[in-house]
């Protein structure tokens, strides 16, 4: 029994890798080969699909747009979440528990409920089809996420650190930036990673709030999938490229993944 225990995760991981393999394999095939019939691996290996994405502005600008609003969103979310998370982890104040729950309820709000009102709101204030609009809209769920994760990390820092600094006569902001922020650097990294990730994987709001100038890569992909027929190879290559940011940083956050997905509660 015990000797074969490794088989469970092994089989599970094979199951996880199969669709990913298929996507990668498709991305290296010509359209003719894909539509011509079933082939287990690319017979005529080609980089044409990737070449097209990196040379056509309609494609690569999608990545630039996505990365732009995702970065703005991450910086903004962390910047406002830091002081708030500190307040929640250190102080009791009027309505703190209700406020904490209200934040959570926004993290759980279905994007479908907000799609249309968001479109109208951001059109009304003249931000429709800008990176700022998507970045702000994603704050709806990323700011609560960042507050909850950071609060989890901050509660692990002993309160004596704050008290000693105040006894030494540090003003609050100096203590916060010079001592406290470095002490929870790991937590900030994890929170930033999850803000980045959730903004990167979200499509419905990003698609609703953009038309041309700030169109995210995900929306460009769905357009290709529906309108220009069966360019599966191109679609697969675009999909494979969207996995790069996650694959790139996953190693660094591997021990915090559970903490991030559970809003800092593990």
């Amino acid at each position: 029994m015990k000797r074969f225990k490794w088989l469970v995760p092994a089989i599970y991981i094979v199951f996880l890798m199969l669709p990913i393999y298929w996507l990668l394999s498709m991305s290296f095939k010509h359209t003719n080969e894909i539509l011509g019939g079933f082939t287990l691996w690319p017979r005529s290996f080609t980089l044409e699909n990737y070449h097209k994405i990196f040379t056509e502005p309609t494609w690569y600008m999608g990545y630039v747009n996505s990365l732009t609003y995702v970065t703005i969103n991450t910086v903004l979310s962390i910047a406002v979440a830091l002081p708030a998370a500190y307040a929640f982890s250190r102080y009791r104040f009027l309505g703190d528990k209700h406020l904490f729950f209200w934040l959570l309820s926004n993290r759980m709000a279905p994007a479908a409920v907000f799609a249309l009102p968001f479109f109208q709101l951001y059109s009304a204030i003249g931000l429709f089809d800008t990176h700022i609009a998507v970045a702000l809209a994603h704050c709806l769920f990323n700011v609560p996420l960042a507050v909850w994760i950071l609060e989890g990390f901050m509660s692990g820092v002993p309160k004596e650190l704050d008290e000693l600094a105040f006894i030494d006569g540090y003003p609050f902001w100096k203590f916060f930036l010079k001592i406290f922020v470095p002490a929870i650097a790991a937590g900030i990294g994890v929170a930033a990673f999850f803000c980045f990730m959730f903004s990167w994987v979200e499509l419905l709001l990003a698609k609703t709030l953009t038309s041309v100038e700030a169109k995210p890569i995900a929306a460009i992909m769905t357009r290709t999938a529906s309108s220009s027929g069966y360019e599966l190879g191109l679609l697969a290559a675009a999909g494979a490229l969207t996995m790069v940011p996650g694959a790139f940083v996953i190693y660094f956050v591997r021990n915090y993944i559970a903490k991030g997905f559970s809003l800092g509660r593990v």
Partner: protein, 288 residues
Amino acid sequence: MSAKTVNHRAWWLVLPVVLLVGFNAVVPLMTVVNYSVQETFGNNRFFFEGVKWFDSVVHSARFHDALKRQMLFTAIILAIEIPLGVAVALAMPRKGVWASVCLVLMSMPLLIPWNVVGAMWNIFALPDIGLLGWTLNKLGFDYNYTRQPFAAWATLIAMDVWHWTSLVALLAYAGLSAIPDAYYQAAKIDGASSWAVFRHVQLPKMKHVLTIAVLLRFMDSFMIYTEPVVLTGGGPGNSTTLLSIDLVKIALGQFDLGPAAAMSLIYFLIILLLSWMFYRVITLDEEQ
């Protein structure tokens, strides 16, 4: 918990968050509330209608069907993902290189954009040229997820299991890692069977993380939109039209603002109730 000092000036620290999230949450929500009680015939002229839309949504067969499909979907994926995730976590190596390899590979699906997950499974399951579809048809199964409701459901569930089981596994793994070695040694000395170890040592220690896992999967599966839209588009027919998909069809497709808004609010209340349960469970556990 008790060590916190009372300081009402802490409100200044949370003010930016309240303003930013409030802007995004309150204004759209009030828009929805506004639509939900009015009728429009275009030209931006609205008439007060009271609870008419709520009444029609609550009694509409279409909403009931979408809600039923949603609950069925959520029940099935919970029944598969939770036991599977726990089983994988139990069998995972505790430390060393292989633990890292498992963690990294298992996290992969969690970090892929949701529409890519849908597109990936779409390509993977194509009956003629997809690895899964081709293999199933070669094995003698008549499988075509774009035409058969059952095949569409099976593919949808396989996709969600693929996408999110790792989350359960990672949470369970985090819970298991927190058990000191001494517990296992004590169990060994007592001659406990592996079932007894699971039942009396591992399961109690995982209770907290598993509750979180169940609630998170419950809520997130209730909000699922992008993956099924890309995979099946809600079809064949309406067979995989879950709540979110139906809502977007009504609101953005038909532009029936009143019914869509009323449905949004009912939907939002369900999620709010679930969130509240989540919050209570977490804060109760942390107080203990």
